[in-house]
């Protein structure tokens, strides 16, 4: 064999990807990919896939694609989590080696934050926000598709690392100097840098898109203070993304220059400064955790009033507290490294600013509870997730305030106490919120409801498993167990708590399996939503049929009240959303275009070239990017017109035309 071929094989398949479990997964993935190809070919669905999904710019479909991808990533990140917990169930276990353990916790964190939580709420934004503000689409539909495909190809790039070339192993925040070439040779870290960079560009674009959509495309009469709270949360999340992601871009970019082109930003030699990375990363990273939690706050602020049949208590206070959290979130990043020696003055400032965040968050907690107070509560699945969220998030928030106490943090830092804290807020806040939103808006996406009984079981398992997993970890932290230990000796008294935690994790896993079963079962036995308003909702998306037609609103509604649809129902004026045949006007909707997927695919090719330092491939991908951008730029004719007759027909079929 040629020597370059041997070299190539060694590069693509280093020993760390030749472990039996990884080869097993590789075979499984290849077979499923083949099965999908065969299925699509046999059922002649390639054209359908291309026309209806891959080239679509419709926000509702993009939202669905985001959510499907996020659920797949939840599965991947969840399997990682179960692998970690299996290793720790007893002392001295060596189910994985230390290198593989490091890779698995790195991919677990990175996948869950960047490729599960963010796309999941981007999906819900896409599904709900334009419908809630009475818009026909987002401000920049093609850019929206670009965002999705950049995320999708970024996620693909990150996920192939474990079978080709090796996974990153420097943790989800990837601190130098360990992430530098000197200590971390191989391509894993390059995958991390490039994949996050590509999907990060998409996230910034999503931020721009939703900010402009919400500021510019609201229905007449919907002032800022009449917007549903979920729309507010999308607005502040977008703002956070805009100002938080560029520092991440810089942190990742500079690390890449260090690794691939020999610069010395964060190296130990030549006066590089690893601390700079920690600052840049957390200037992004702390707003990022609010980016993750704000949408969940928004979802709960929709779910609670709907299922309590009461308007949200303290709407203005809710808005002000969202804005306060947004503002404060930029002034707390140093609390991630009190131990790095910034001095007591700096540490106290950041400790206090961190504690201040508890105030607006507490206001929100009370407001949700007061909304339920005296309401007629229906215990639907979305509401169960919200009820589970309140105690869980309170515990997580309180442990956060404990961590903000600087002196005490010297004890907790890098221990399992921290692990317990942030899972408490990210799973108990973000994931509970996302799943609540998933069940809540599911009928709007697909036109059928998820089975409630199975949903309650999924919730029960997930919720119980959650508490069993993470409460023992607080105590493990007190007993001195540090995070990221690949294994631990017997005789430290950690065995029992770890075993409980692992059992809890598997119970959560069962909850996820029930969720998937719930989706599959409900698809086969659909409970159709014929009214478009299955929950007796309050906001404009429920005034539309489920799923909404391509153009959303045949006539843009006029808004007079905060809960626009509810007030129409109370006044008995629901017919106001129906059309008279003479009111139909031609509607412009954006045309499908393959440009987004081609652009993102070019980014993928170029990034893969960068990962392996194959410069020809990087240049090829770069040329693809330039060509796609140029081609996209000269397409001025991006809309198509739906003629009034076809709109009228669609609306007639949906029973939304006055006789």
């Amino acid at each position: 064999m040629h020597s370059w071929l041997i070299h190539l094989i060694k590069l693509l398949f280093p020993p760390q990807v030749l472990l039996p479990d990884i080869i097993g997964i590789d075979i499984g993935l290849t077979l499923s990919a083949l099965a999908i190809v065969v299925y699509l070919t046999k059922t002649h669905r390639w054209g359908w896939l291309w026309k209806e999904w891959l080239t679509t710019v419709d926000h509702k479909r993009i939202g669905i694609m985001y959510i499907i991808a996020a659920l797949i990533m939840l599965f991947r990140g969840g399997v990682d989590a179960l692998m970690l917990r299996s290793q720790l169930i007893v002392p001295n276990a060596h189910f994985m080696g230390a290198q593989q353990y490091d890779e698995v916790f790195t991919t677990h964190g990175t996948v869950m934050i960047f490729f599960m939580a963010m796309p999941f709420f981007f999906g819900l934004f896409n599904v709900a926000v334009p419908l809630m503000i009475g818009a026909r689409d987002v401000a920049f539909p093609r850019l929206n598709a670009i965002s999705f495909w950049l995320f999708a190809f970024g996620a693909a790039l990150f996920n192939i690392s474990f079978s080709i070339g090796g996974s990153p192993s420097a943790g989800w925040f990837s601190y130098p100097p360990y992430s530098e070439l000197q200590f971390n040779p191989g391509v894993g870290e390059n995958y991390y840098l490039l994949a996050l960079q590509v999907s990060g560009i998409g996230s910034i674009a999503t931020g721009i898109n939703f900010l402009v959509t919400i500021l510019k495309l609201r229905a007449p009469g919907m002032t800022l203070m009449k917007m549903p709270l979920f729309v507010w949360s999308a607005l502040v999340t977008s703002t956070l993304i805009l100002f938080a992601f560029p520092p991440l871009t810089v942190a990742l970019g500079l690390t890449m220059l260090d690794r691939l082109f020999g610069a010395s930003f964060f190296t130990l030699g030549r006066e590089g400064m690893p601390m700079m990375y920690a600052n840049l990363f957390w200037i992004f990273g702390h707003p990022e955790v609010y980016i993750l939690i704000m949408p969940a706050f928004g979802i709960f602020s929709e779910v609670v009033p709907t299922f309590s049949r009461k308007p949200l208590f303290g709407y203005e206070a809710m808005v002000i507290s969202l804005l306060a959290i947004t503002f404060l979130s930029y002034g707390v990043w140093v609390h991630h490294f009190f131990e790095m020696g910034a001095g007591p003055g700096v540490n106290v400032f950041f400790g206090l600013s961190t504690m201040l965040i508890a105030i607006p968050t507490g206001v929100k907690m009370f407001n949700w509870i007061f909304t339920m107070w005296g309401g007629r509560i229906r215990l639907t699945v979305p509401m169960l997730w919200q009820l589970g969220f309140i105690p869980t998030f309170v515990v997580g928030g309180a442990s956060g305030v404990m961590l903000a106490a600087v002196a005490a943090d010297y004890q907790y830092h890098n221990s399992y106490f921290v692990i317990a804290h942030f899972h408490n807020v990210i799973v108990g806040g973000t994931v509970f919120g996302l799943l609540s939103g998933l069940y809540y808006w599911w009928p709007k996406m697909f036109g059928w409801k998820l089975n409630e009984r199975q949903g309650r079981w999924a919730f029960a398992f997930f919720f119980t498993g959650f508490w069993l997993t993470f409460m023992p970890q607080y105590f493990l932290g007190f007993e001195g167990m540090t995070r990221r230990m690949a294994s631990y000796p017997a005789g430290l008294g950690w065995g029992g708590l770890n075993a409980m935690s692992t059992i809890g994790a598997f119970i959560m896993g069962i909850g996820f399996v029930i969720l998937v079963y719930n989706i599959a079962w409900s698809r086969l036995h659909p409970e159709w939503d014929t009214t478009g308003d299955p929950w007796d909702g309050r906001t404009l998306e429920w005034s539309l049929p489920s799923p909404a037609p391509a153009y959303n609103f045949a006539r843009i509604p006029e808004v007079h009240e905060r809960d626009a649809w509810w007030s129409l129902k109370q006044a008995g004026k629901t017919d106001a959303v129906k059309l008279s045949p003479d009111q139909v006007e031609p509607i412009h909707i954006p045309k499908n275009t393959p440009m987004p997927i081609l652009l993102a695919a070019s980014f993928f090719v170029g990034s893969l070239g960068m990962v392996f330092s194959w410069h020809w491939m990087a240049i090829l991908g770069g040329l693809g990017v330039v060509a796609s951008l140029a081609w996209g730029s000269i397409q001025d004719d991006t809309d198509r017109e739906l003629d009034p007759a076809s709109v009228l027909n669609t609306e007639k079929r949906l029973g939304r035309v006055h006789p």
Binding site: I208, K216, S264
Partner: protein, 200 residues
Amino acid sequence: MNNPIGALPAEFENTHEGVKILGFWVFLATDVMLFASLFAVYVVYRSRVALGPTPAQIFRLGPVLAETLILLTSSFTVSLSLYAARTSHLKAAIAWLVVTLVLGATFVSLEIHEFVTDVLAGHTWHQSAFLSSFFTLVGTHGSHVTFGIGWAILLTLELAFRGLTVANRRKLFSFALYWHFLDIVWIFLFSVVYLAGVMT
């Protein structure tokens, strides 16, 4: 279609195009954050020269002053192009845009010349954290200008083939915003990097 003074320019009259301009402003805000981060890195790293040269040893103000004047002039010419478009003089708009991109290209070639001189003298960014941050900060601005030149070429062709359509007016306006933005970033670069550098 002359625009009377005081009337809204065509690119703002059309709501679709107006929304795109707002989107572009928001994009520029993210770019401000990008440069702010790089400036922060540079300011911290500027004294971390390791065994390499200090700023004062490698900066030569002459060429940099020329770059500054060229870029400032190009900011003026892009405004002339926009003015011509607003008064519906297509040929003048194209001509001033071409002048702008030629000035931009001159700027970039002077910058490349500066970089090449440094590198040939052995001052690559392998030498120190200072040089890494210097080349990255100035280079990021330079690659923005290079991207802008590519954009201006495309825009020139679009203007030549399609004329002053509303979409083209909006693109020209966004391009002018972008170009002015790069100019402002350069003013900061000139003061924070070069002026402060030769004075230490």
